[in-house]
Symmetry: C2
Subunit: 354 residues, 2 copies
């Protein structure tokens, strides 16, 4: 079994984690290593469910906060860019940005701060990068919501070292047009469903998305076609065309309100809901969040992309994203993380929790 030494420098610890490959659904080795290392820390109670590990202090503090991160990565590059390389202050390799720098910071905090100023729950989960059904945090929220009970949560996804509050919600719908197929040499016997989709695209192009301020942060909504398909054969008038639309909505709206809004935009069309996930309020007006922002003294912006902070929000726990690494490098073959951001994130959380 791989061994982790939590007393190592947090950048070295990041490299150690990256060098244990952990593509989604293949997290057993890294989960074992993380569990084993945490069980050496006497102040923590450690629980495990599959490859998700939850460890917490129980010091009777007035507040409890969560530090959460996922253990899995997207598939390795071909050939794998492992083991990690360190060049010019950058740590390079699959997972350095998304998000083993953040996981290393969690582990270093767990090791270094034995008596935090608020109780801390450390969550390490599996299968964040693949289909929702496999997501370890989703599973824990459903099966063990008490493990996640807290006043505030920090998800250590990469934010380039800044604080990104809450997140927008996201939903997808299929907007379909219906025609009548016919031979394309005799189109008057049919009705072209792709031509009808022009009006769907026109509504999308004409749509003016809102910017919504929630708890002090500006969320920029967006409505976009992310897919279109239609056609039967090169000599057939198509009887169906489907435009897949993604709506990213501010966290002031419930999922139901967002769905109703999209249905109204495409009234007159056959609209089928695909996936839908509400956003997360940043909750910056709560005492726990305020103390976090004050201790870190970093700029706070709205998180535009949906992240697992929404799972905490759904449990009534306000949440922010804060972690090392440029999110634009996540999933790229060129994934790399400034070592200084890893060190700084560890120092910032230490300031808050000491």
């Amino acid at each position: 079994m791989a061994e982790l030494d939590l007393t190592r420098d947090v950048v070295d610890l990041t490299a150690d984690l990256v060098d244990i490959p952990s593509v989604s659904r293949d997290e057993l080795e890294i989960a074992d290593a993380v569990e084993h290392a945490l069980r050496t820390l006497p102040q923590l109670r450690v629980d495990r469910d599959g490859n998700t590990i939850v460890a917490r202090t129980d010091l009777g503090r007035d507040e409890r906060v969560v530090l959460a991160g996922h253990l899995d990565t997207v598939p390795l590059t071909d050939p794998p860019n492992l083991p990690t390389k360190r060049v010019d202050g950058l740590l390079a390799g699959r997972g350095t940005t998304d998000m083993k720098g953040g996981v290393a910071v969690q582990l270093a905090v767990a090791q270094a701060i034995t008596e935090p100023t608020r109780d801390v729950t450390f969550v390490f989960y599996d299968c964040e990068e693949i289909e929702e059904e496999f997501n370890g945090l989703r599973r824990i929220a459903a099966d063990h919501p008490d493990w996640l009970a807290a006043d505030f949560a920090v998800l250590l996804e990469p934010t380039n070292g800044g604080i990104e509050g809450g997140c927008k919600g996201t939903l997808r719908v299929d907007v379909a047009t219906k025609g009548i197929s016919a031979h394309s040499a005799r189109p008057w016997n049919g009705h072209n469903a792709i031509h009808d989709a022009g009006e769907v695209l026109a509504r999308l192009a004409a749509y003016e998305p809102e910017t919504v301020n929630v708890d002090g942060l500006d969320y920029h909504e967006a409505l976009n076609a992310v897919g279109i398909s239609g056609g039967i054969a090169g000599n057939v008038i198509p009887d169906r065309c489907v435009v897949t639309v993604n709506y990213r909505f501010a966290p002031d709206k419930s999922a139901e309100e967002a769905v109703a809004h999209v249905r109204a935009i495409f009234s007159g069309y056959d609209v089928t809901l695909g996936d839908c996930a509400a956003g997360a309020r940043p909750g910056l007006d709560t005492p726990a969040a305020a103390s976090f922002v004050e201790a870190l003294d970093l700029p706070v912006t709205a998180k535009e992309g949906w992240t697992d902070v929404a799972r905490f929000s759904a449990l009534g726990v306000p949440a922010v994203n804060f972690g090392p690494g440029d999110p634009n490098l996540a999933h790229t073959d060129d994934e790399r993380c400034p070592e200084q951001q890893i060190t700084d994130a560890f120092a910032a959380l230490s300031r808050w929790l000491r």
Copy 2:
């Protein structure tokens, strides 16, 4: 080897041909049977290339005409609807309409009319129902154009017993829009190629196709999207969308003119030509065609769909479609042909050639 008795009633002969399955690329057995039967007729010279057979009289007549048909069918139904069934004056089974009724008429004419009023070339070819590259008539036109030399050609594809002159041309182009991919939560970092395709669809919807009279027949042009595709993933702004457009054009236009017309319609977009085939003029003003129409005394309309008559037209041979069966039943599981149409087609061609 299957044996064909060409002296049988033409409907019985159709059933005999249908009962020799001959899905495209599997025409050896039927081609052998046809060749063998034709070689028993002393007035014919028989040539063969692969599974295509060309037989002709050489009586020194002033005119030569072609009667052409393909031996192959689309795949059998599951389970196969063979052997043929005869119910209420209909002959049912794969190939009854497309086009063994026509092939039977060719063979019956070859057998019955030993001294036709004009020399006749009978063409039986393979692989009409699949990719162009395999088409036997295409191959003969390229390798043995002299076998097809004539003043006029009749293709016995199903026309419900009417005469359909010439055919429209057809071409396909891909009209592409180009964008910039980005995360769909931050679309301002990208540009949506699917939204841009709305203008392509708008031009299609606004297009007013022409009706063009050629040699006395009205050809109805048509411009239609037959396919559309775009999208990378459900959370990505798409960087490309492709609309596949099919233009059906009157036979007064060359292929080059038709391509130029489509490029002009979609000026400003990336237009890539797919396949392209010119149409066929009906040539009803030629003496050979006029005598055919006069002898048959049937209504003449323009052929809207592209057919292999265009291969004759490309060789300078005007051509029409005339054969038993409803073209709307071609390729359907319910394929069937009125027996009377087979008998009538044989009688009509006999009137012309006797």
